[in-house]
Symmetry: C2
Amino acid sequence: MRKPATSPSIPGLGEGQRGEAGHLGYLLRQASLAWRARMEHALAEFAVTPPQFAALTMIGAYPGLSSADLARLSLLTPATVAGIVANLKRAGALTARRHPVHGRILQLALTAKGNAQLARCKRRVYSLEARLAEDLSPAEEKAVRRWLALAARAG
Amino acid sequence: MRKPATSPSIPGLGEGQRGEAGHLGYLLRQASLAWRARMEHALAEFAVTPPQFAALTMIGAYPGLSSADLARLSLLTPATVAGIVANLKRAGALTARRHPVHGRILQLALTAKGNAQLARCKRRVYSLEARLAEDLSPAEEKAVRRWLALAARAG
DNA sequence: GGGATATTGTTAGGGTCCTAACATTCTATT
DNA sequence: AATAGAATGTTAGGACCCTAACAATATCCC
């Protein structure tokens, strides 16, 4: 069976609404799905998922930050962050201890293992990321960056 | 409690690595998360999720396409599509019937209810989408579209 | 001191996404 | 015809991500 061709004309990845002329929201979704898939495969060797990598990066950059801080930084809800943190803690990549004064806050910090893992992941991801801009002129890259930052804010 | 300020200097959404100067992959993730959240809120009234809207749109555009076709179109796995289709079917928005000749293929098509729902969703989403490009010059929008299509393909 | 208010984190449940393993059906080759 | 190969769809298990409701802690204001 070499492709039953159920429907007559289903477009490939660059054609129809799936190419540059398609809806911006759809293009954004597609690009994000593809990037996430590439990240997943690149990080699979280290048993780290893309969201875990993002969390490790932020905790590495701001040691001692709280779970709520991490949620705000990641644009995620506290409930979602709790799951990610639980998995990283179970893997021994980070520690969560109560704030000495403010009894409810959890202060997150990387363990030595978490730091080593983060360093390995960073090398891998950054080399992948370099290919994300290689076909862009400086002016184009500037436009893309401006738009992405804009889209993250409001619209 | 007005913000305990666990860590000294955690950047806001436009600052540090979270602004235009940050990593492209991180910016893409942020933009996509924010867009998805806006979509979810816009579609919540119709009890449709963004992935469901994407599936409805594609089935509406290519009636009779198979579950595998839908997976390829969406850059998703067959298993993921099965879940989305099951939810839409349970809601009465689509039908899945066996191909008359090719006994294993499922042919997907919208019901009247699904079509009406899709029309309502489209109006809502497209008006939201218009705001996604309103601050972009034509040249910038062209650059963004080219990059998104490129990122969806390979890198 | 004693609330109203706000923030933090937790729990429960649903939808999305993956990999891995599998059964089913059809095509191609021998 | 018989077998190998390829495509379709299914199931099980795990990680992400959300909303909603809740418990615990800290601040503000009287």
